[in-house]
Symmetry: C2
Subunit: 340 residues, 2 copies
Amino acid sequence: MRAVVLHAPGDVRVDEVEDPEIIEPTDAVIRVTAACICGSDLWPYRGIENVDGPTPMGHEYVGVVERVGDAVREVGVGDLVVGSFVASDNTCEICEAGFQSRCVHQVMMGSIGTQSEFARIPLADGTLVKVPGEPTPEQQRGLLAASDVLGTGWFAAVAAEAGPGKTVAVVGDGAVGLLAILAARHLGSERVIAMSRHADRQRLARRFGATDIVEQRGEAGVARIKELTGGYGAHSTVEAVGTQESMTQAIGATRPGGHVGYVGVSHGVELDGLDLFFATVNLLGGPAPVRRFLPDLIDLVMTGRIDPGIVFDLTLPLDRAAEGYQAMDERRAIKVLLTL
Amino acid sequence: MRAVVLHAPGDVRVDEVEDPEIIEPTDAVIRVTAACICGSDLWPYRGIENVDGPTPMGHEYVGVVERVGDAVREVGVGDLVVGSFVASDNTCEICEAGFQSRCVHQVMMGSIGTQSEFARIPLADGTLVKVPGEPTPEQQRGLLAASDVLGTGWFAAVAAEAGPGKTVAVVGDGAVGLLAILAARHLGSERVIAMSRHADRQRLARRFGATDIVEQRGEAGVARIKELTGGYGAHSTVEAVGTQESMTQAIGATRPGGHVGYVGVSHGVELDGLDLFFATVNLLGGPAPVRRFLPDLIDLVMTGRIDPGIVFDLTLPLDRAAEGYQAMDERRAIKVLLTL
C-alpha cells in the first residue's frame, strides 16, 4: 500500500510499504477514507523531534473496517469508524475515569501511522466508534477533525472548565486552539478570547465563536487579558502550542483559582515551582482522551450542530502529502486533509 | 510588647518591640492568646530563605480583639477570633471563588508577625472569624491549628479531590501532611496512605485515620503506592513538603486523571513540561485559602468532631520560642505551640 513516510527532517515521501496485518486478536484493519496532517507531525518534520530512520506518519483517521481479529465484537467489516489518536481498551480504571489516552494498554497511533491506504487499529473494540448513517463530504471532514484536533480542543476546553459564566482565553491559533473556541462556546462560555495575530486565523476564530481577539503575546498579552477581565485574568485558559512562552502566557493569563487546560505537546517547557505555587491555578493537560468525547462529537457532527471540518483549509490527495507538510510548515495552511 | 524576631539564620530571639497600631480603618489589633511555629518558619531559620535584618516571625494566631478601625463592622472588641495566615477582603472575585489566599488585597501575615503579644490584622472583617462560646484548652489548640496547618491540610485534601471511593496518598509527615490525613478521612476517603518513616509521626498519622503507611521514598515510594493501588496509582495525592523530590514523588504516585494538591512552599522545584504532560494529572496548589474553610473548621473543632490540636507535641511560653525553633529544626517536635 501507499503510506506517508518521513525519511529525514523536511523529507517526507509517499512510499510503497507492506499492507498491515491483524497481529493481535483485538486488532482491526481499516481502509482509511480520510487522513490529515497534525501540527504535532511538524515537530519531527522540522527536526525538533529526532527522526531515527524512515518513520510512518499520521495518527488521525476515518475509515471503513476491512478485517477484524477473532476477539473483536463491537465493530465489523464494512462499518464506517472514527478512532482516537491513542488506541485504548476502554475498560481499565483509567479509561473508565475518562482518561483513555493514558489507558494501561495504550498504543499511540502515531507509532503505526495512518497517512496511508490502510491502518492497523489495536484494541479495536475500545478504540473505534461507529458512525451512524452516511456522512456528507462536510461531515466526513468533521469526523476526521473529531479524531484529534476537535477532540483535543474539546478536552482542553473541558480541562479548563469552560462553561456558563466563564471567560475563556485561548493561547494558540492552530487547528486545536481554533476548535477549543468552538468547544468553549458549545460548553456555554459567553466570552472567548482568541490570542492570534493572523488575519485568516482570526476570521476562523470568529466563525467558531470567539468574541474577542488579542494580538499581543507574552507579558503584553497577559496584561491585555487582565485588562479585559477586570484585572483578574481569565477563568479558563486553553494552551494549545507547547512552548515555554505559550505555557507562561497561559498560566499568567489565568486568575488564581482558575483552570488551565494544556494540550500543546511540551517542547522544552520548564515550570518554576514557586511561580506555579503563587499562580494558584488548576493545571490539567496531556494527550487528550479523545475517546471520551467521540460518541458525542460524532453525534454533534452528524446532526449538523457543529461544523469543525472548516478547519481544513487545504485538501490534497495522499500522493501530494509532501506539499501539505510544506504548506503547514510555512503556515500557509492551518490544517491539511489528505484524500484517498 | 514582646515578639519573636529572627536576627540571622538560627538566631531567633524574643525582643521588646513597639505595640501595633491601627493603620488602616479596616484593621483590628488583637491580643494573641496562642501562636505557633510553622514548618515554613524553618526555611529562613535554616538560611534557605534570605533574612534581611531582624524579621518578625509567625503567621498563625488565635486572639481576642483589642481595638478596631473605624470601618470594621463584623468583629468587635472582646471577640475571640481566628484568622488565616493571609489577610483578605473576602469580597473580591478571587475571594468569592474561594481563593482568599490570593485576594487582590492580600496581606501575608508573616510580613507582620504573630508570635507576639499583640498583632495588627489588616482587612479584619474579611480575615477574622468569630469563635462561638468558650473553647476548652484542647479546642483552643484546635482553633490555632485551623489558622494554618489544619486549613492548609484541608485545602490540600480538597484540591486533591479526596472523597468517597478515593485512595489518597500523603507525601510529607509534618503537621500539614498529618492534618491532610484527617481532612481526607473526614471528606470520606476510605483509604489514606501516609508516606512516613518516623515512628512518632506514623502513630499520629494512624490516629488521624491513615489506613496504610509507606516508608519508602522516591521511585521506591512511587512503586509501593502503585503496588497498593492495583498498579494505577492513587486517585488523590497531597504534597506537603515543597521539594523537588516530594513533588516528583507526589506526581508519580498519582494515576492519570487523578489529582495532586500541593501545599508545600516550593523551594527549588522545577517541573519538566513533557513529564507533566504525560503524567496527565490535575495539579492544584499554592498558599491555602484557609479563610474558605475556617467557619466549618471552627464548627468542627467547637463541636468536638475533630481534634487537630493533638498535632502540637510541644508547648512552650513565648519567651522560650528559640527552644521551639530548635526542636522543630531537629525534628524533635512536630509542631510547637507558644503560650502567652
